[in-house]
């Protein structure tokens, strides 16, 4: 194995966790599907573990293995239209550093999101649901009271706070039903 490659691989491995999938496949964010495929084949040619099969177990072999797994991960995400779109939004946002590795929301996580919305404590949920009903029936003051009660059970629930603020605003706005 030539020395240049080894240096390059080690350098790449160093910054692997800071790169997004486009950077790993060395393509631009608006690359066409064909360009992404070609890039995947090109990187496979360079880093496929079979090329290093006969090396004794060593740092380079481990490094190459790590890089290649990430190349596969990148290809899996970017060669799927829907995943690529979501990923692009993820890494273009403020949360980029935490979103570099694409994770599909699992069935459990979706359930958790839902729980976050309506609450995790029985009392919190009860007041929150009552508040939502008040809101729908345009009883804004009652809604605000119920949301405040819900917050006493789950002080950290952002959704409760948002709803309380919304209700408070409506109370003040002299909202008139037509």
């Amino acid at each position: 194995m030539d020395e240049g490659f080894e240096i390059e691989a080690q350098a790449l491995a160093q910054i692997l966790d800071e790169l997004d999938y486009f950077q790993i496949l060395k393509v631009s964010q608006n690359a066409s599907p064909d360009e992404i495929k070609a890039a995947y084949y090109r990187e496979s040619r360079a880093y496929h573990p079979d090329r290093f099969f006969q090396l004794p177990d060593c740092e380079l072999k481990t490094t190459v293995g790590r890089i290649y797994k990430r190349i596969n991960e990148a290809s899996l995400c970017l060669r799927d239209g829907a995943r690529r779109l979501k990923y692009l939004t993820d890494v273009s946002g403020p949360d980029r550093a935490r979103r570099l590795r694409f994770v599909e929301a699992s069935e459990q996580e979706l359930k958790k999101d839902k729980e976050q919305e309506i609450g995790t404590t029985p009392q919190g949920r009860k007041f929150f649901m009552a508040g939502m009903q008040d809101l729908a029936a345009l009883r804004f003051a009652a809604a605000e009271r119920n949301f405040k009660m819900a917050i006493t059970y789950e002080p950290a629930n952002p959704n409760y706070k948002a709803k309380r603020d919304e209700a408070a605003k409506l109370v003040k706005s002299d909202f008139v039903v037509r």
Binding site: Y41, S44, R45, H48, P49, D50, R51, F52, F53, Q54, L55, G65, Y68, K69, N72, E73, S75, L76, E104, S106, E107, Q108
Partner: protein, 529 residues
Amino acid sequence: MADSEIAIGIDLGTSYSCVSILEKGKPTVIPNEWGERTHASVVSFLDDGTVLVGNSAKRNIITNADNTVYSAKRLIGRFYFSDEVKKAQAVMPYKIVEGENNSVRIQIRENIYSLPEISALVLKEMKSIVENYLGHEVKKAVVTVPAYFNDNQRQATKDAGRIAGLDVMRILNEPTAAALAYGFGKDIAQRIAVYDLGGGTFDVSVLEIGKDVFEVLSTAGDTYLGGDDFDDRIMTWLAEDFLKKNGIDLRLNKYCLQMLKEASERAKIDVGRDSVARISVEGICQDPAGKVMDLTATLTEVEFNRMVMDLVQRTFKVCDEALQGARMTANELDAVILVGGPTRLPIVRTSVKHYFGRDVMAGIDPDEVVAAGASIQATSLLDSKGEHYLLDVTPLTLRVGTVGGYTDKVIDKNTPIPIERSKSYTTNRDGQERVKIKVYQGESNKAAECELLGEFEFSGFRIAYRGEVRIEVTFEIDTNGIVNVTAADVETGQKTSCTIRLSSGLTDDMIKAAQEKNASTQLARGEAA
């Protein structure tokens, strides 16, 4: 050095096995001393302590039924409680018993063998065929498995290789091997489907072949469907007919059953070649009065096709799945390759032609192409020149058990391998010392409908209040399609110490003992069939 650096390719089949090496850049199937190019995957334990493997051993299924093991591949890597094992116990003349951790064992006289030990004897025969041919020892090999094999089955096959004294460089998927043999040295750019109907399993893979790249786009399969099922249909037909005429059910006696099975397999081959099969088994049983009875019947192609049509149709459901996985339609393919003995049957060929809307690729030997591909890959791993690249996928979704008997996806099927994915877990009790994770493979979110790979237990992380310790568990699928699980404490980065694997697999000590047993076993030489 150069001479001993030869790596062999072994197609370890349910019914037949085949071995190949690369000679002067061309894959060459190595015949045994009688010129036989494929060898029955049958292991017969003889009275003198030697073991007979191959086509000669096949005759012993009837004459030495208790001590002759066949179709071991149907049982390898399975749990004792699985349906396949129950089914096998009903029909196999050899004794299938339960080992530790729900594993399956075979009892021959007073000896107990694991399934990898049985397969290792087939591998030993394959190895010795090449050694006879070359005149020196070979150590390295690529062994193929059905693409749809799960982790337990792959692991067990790898163990079989180790027991046979082979350095198994790669567990390669059979359809991928076939595609490699097809595209090797051709410089083509095509999208192909490999339709692989073997003795006991069915696989279909969709691949894209480029100049030096073989990329598997999707794979699907059924590990409970193969040529054996075609034989079963003929068997049922023969047995029902015999029962109606003579009032004797041949299936109740394991000896008669074997004769029936053998006759059915021959009838299948005959009807495929000659459009009609004349079945005649002399002295298949005795009637209650002690009169020896013969079985005679004539099987026409029309009749046979009617019997097996639903089996053939079942393969196309799997093909639908594979095409869907590759996001392709049948008419986007450039070629269809047939692999496996049963694909010689006209009913299979015409149905495949009809389904894909194109002629199947001619000039490919369905019995030898997998071994040929395995030898190409074996040599390529040996010299590491990297003239071509195999980009393969995992056939099954990897899952972890969650509460209430459900599972959560970790790695999707058809994900390119090698790959890894991490998941974090926290402790849910104060002072918790261990975290247990159950790992499954399958397409259902219910644990009971998936295959359990093992239970992993991690310890050696910090002891703290509940929820304070976060453990990152990394699931890796390597180039063999084998799953590895490791865990680390997120905060300290400390790798947790012991990883206990609870499955029906063999421990290192068991493998070592089996290796010695295998090495000291003498292979009997039979005679030309």
